[in-house]
């Protein structure tokens, strides 16, 4: 798949979404994951980290179309979704460093951060692992008549998992309020999605279930937000699930240890020309929402917040060994 992506014609007018908040979240995600990478490279982080850098428009564009009680499930690459759903970067960073003050008290790490209070049902270490969680959350919303919907973020790698078929089919026949958002960042580790996904544009699969399938430029916050808003409101009305495919790109490797021998630098540069944050900055200026100095001061504020998160994490205690056998059973 090339960098050419479909762009929707109906990009909403200024004011349809809070551009300042979108920019703040996107910058927070990028700076958070840049910090995570440098902590990993400095040997301060165990395991690995999967950076969301380059994909910020997807998580933020969808999340700004949600209500607080809507549910979200995530992937290996979950930092962006957690931040966009309102997660606390301090507790996230502490979890990355395995500290007692982290979201999971150091028991989960990067791939298992959840914020249940914010209805963020967790990153997931299993490809496709969030599909059942989101579909089940949508079932709870339906049974308890809360009016909430669920969003399942998944990567192109999960397009080839059986669970996607089972849950989509079930959600379609039960008309559950769930939106399946495919973050097609073109690669599942080294596997190119234009090779691994049969049938071309994965959104076409939706027709087989009789549900809408929409493909958007995942580097475009406004396009993602507009499409997500429409499909989310449709789900909320009781008309059932949909597929939203966002074509996007991860600037970095699959994780911090990726050899990156499977793609050309020129390809990365081509995608970087469409940088989602730069595009929102340009739109903010163009639409007169924020001037360059305001953007600079927002960036300084976010930088300070991430720095504080790192300080908080580094100064937090390690978990006590007496916590080893707790939280296995309720």
């Amino acid at each position: 798949m090339t960098a050419e992506v479909q762009t929707r014609a109906d990009v909403p007018a200024a004011g349809a979404l809070d551009i300042r908040e979108a920019l703040r979240l996107m910058m927070t995600i990028r700076l958070f994951d840049e910090q995570a990478l440098s902590l990993y490279r400095a040997g301060e982080m165990r395991g690995t980290t999967h950076p969301y850098i380059g994909m910020e428009a997807v998580g933020v564009g969808v999340m700004l179309a949600l209500r607080p009680n809507d549910y979200v499930t995530s992937t290996h690459r979950g930092h962006g979704h957690t931040i966009a759903k309102g997660g606390d970067p301090k507790r996230m960073m502490a979890e990355l460093l395995g500290r007692a003050t982290g979201y999971s008290g150091g028991k989960g790490g990067s791939m298992h951060i959840a914020d249940m209070d914010k209805h963020m049902l967790g990153a997931n270490g299993i490809v496709g692992g969030g599909m059942g969680l989101a579909t089940g959350a949508a079932l709870t919303a339906r049974l308890q008549k809360t009016g909430a919907i669920a969003v399942c973020f998944f990567g192109d790698g999960a397009l080839e998992q059986g669970i996607l078929h089972e849950t989509t089919n079930l959600a379609a026949i039960w008309k559950l309020p769930v939106l399946y958002v495919c973050e097609n960042n073109q690669y599942a580790m080294s596997t190119r999605s234009d090779w691994s996904v049969a049938g071309g544009d994965p959104a076409r699969r939706a027709a087989g279930y009789g549900i809408p399938g929409v493909t958007v430029d995942g580097m475009d916050l406004f396009g993602v937000n507009a499409a997500a808003t429409e499909l989310i409101e449709r789900a909320r009305r009781g008309d059932g699930p949909a597929y939203l495919v966002c074509n996007t790109y991860r600037y970095h490797g699959h994780h911090a240890g990726d050899p990156l021998n499977y793609r050309e630098k020129e390809e990365v540069e081509r995608w970087r020309l469409q940088d989602p944050i730069e595009r929102v900055k340009a739109a903010a200026t163009e639409r007169g929402v924020m001037g360059p100095s305001e953007i600079a001061s927002l960036e300084a504020q976010v930088t300070a917040e991430i720095q504080a998160a790192v300080e908080f994490a580094k100064s937090s205690p390690e978990p006590s060994v007496d916590q080893l056998m707790t939280d296995i059973y309720a």
Partner: protein, 343 residues
């Protein structure tokens, strides 16, 4: 443990004889009435024959409707995975996997999601769900519909595993499983569905993690699972005529295991047989033996014996199936050997 969780007064006058399947049906009905968050889903649980291939969910749809008694497509992974998502968000699903043999298709959400969410999230999540399945041989259903796979789940921290052998236990344990805030793998036995027994008229629950001594004896402890409890009781009757008294223990829940009741019994008898329809190799009986050896080695007069299924796919022919499964005479022979110190 609350007072309401006392063991059922089986000998109390207020009982009636009902089947294991009927007892399970009562448990589901009572818990669905008690808690609107409880719902049932699975293959053929609503329409087929009025509810479930063995009638466990019979007529529930008439009382609770199709929103709370949900027939699903044949999608075992989705059934389990959707149950996890529903449970983590405040529902109490009772999901059915029609035969435990099909659960291989659903292991991912059970093992990696249900069992681990709470730990991975540092105690911030709870997953109050029950997966009901039936297992066991004896009906000529052959290799893909007759296995006993409880050991798979006992291996995974975060899951509870329940294996009732009587109607009264089935009802009381299922009610506890539904009220439990953890994922519970509730394994029924297809042959036991038709067995009858006394079940209290009054409401009761049976707590998870408490074994039941089904027969008191002084010479050999037999820990049996599912049908092997009944077979052990038959063996005990035969052996009593020759002066050998079996103590028959049904652990009822394998996780958590009431180790104390088993160990105390072995301290008295000095001899242990574990018996289940699951394959001998890697079966949970080996775990029970290991735990007894750990804590009561000095009390053992002879090496413990496993009277379990042969390590072979369950065959179709009645002759072969019978030979593959542990039988009453196998228990009798094992007990005699232990008592006569022939091992």
């Amino acid at each position: 443990m609350t007072a309401v969780e006392a063991a059922p007064p089986v000998a109390a006058p207020q009982t009636r004889e009902i089947t294991y399947a009927e007892a399970l049906n009562e448990a589901l009905r009572e818990e669905m009435r008690r808690d609107p968050n409880v719902f049932v889903m699975g293959e053929d649980v609503a329409v087929w024959g009025g509810g479930g291939i063995f009638g466990v969910t019979k007529a529930l749809v008439e009382e609770f409707g199709t929103e709370r008694v949900r027939d699903t497509p044949i999608s075992e992974e989705a059934i389990a995975a959707v149950a996890v998502g529903a449970a983590a968000t405040g529902s109490r699903p009772v999901a059915e996997i029609m035969y435990v043999d099909f659960i291989g298709l659903a292991m991912e959400p059970i093992v990696n999601q249900a069992a681990k969410l709470r730990y991975m999230f540092g105690g911030k999540a709870k997953v109050p769900m029950v997966i009901r399945a039936q297992e066991g041989a004896g009906r000529g259903n052959a290799a893909q519909h007759s296995q006993s796979l409880e050991a798979w789940f006992c291996h995974i921290p975060g899951l509870k595993v329940v294996t009732p052998s009587t109607p009264a236990d089935a009802k009381g344990l299922l009610k506890s499983a539904i009220r439990d805030d953890n994922p519970v793998i509730f394994l029924e036995h297809k042959v036991l569905y038709f067995s009858k027994g006394p079940v209290p008229q009054e409401e009761y629950t049976v707590p998870l993690g408490v074994a039941d001594v089904k027969r008191v004896g002084q010479h050999v402890t037999v820990v049996g699972v599912h049908t092997m409890v009944g077979k052990a009781l038959k063996a005990a009757e035969q052996l009593a005529e020759e002066g050998i008294e079996l103590e028959v223990i049904d652990p009822r829940t394998l996780v958590p295991l009431d180790e104390e009741t088993i160990v105390e019994s072995v301290k008295k008898t000095g001899r242990l047989i574990v018996s289940h329809e699951a394959y001998t190799r890697g079966g949970y009986g080996a775990e029970i033996i290991a735990r007894v050896v750990d804590t009561a080695f000095d009390y053992l007069d002879a090496p413990p014996i496993r009277v379990c299924a042969r390590n072979v796919p369950v065959p179709y022919s009645a002759v072969l199936e019978t030979a593959a499964l542990p039988q009453v005479e196998d228990l009798v022979a094992a007990a005699r050997a232990l008592v006569r110190n022939e091992r």
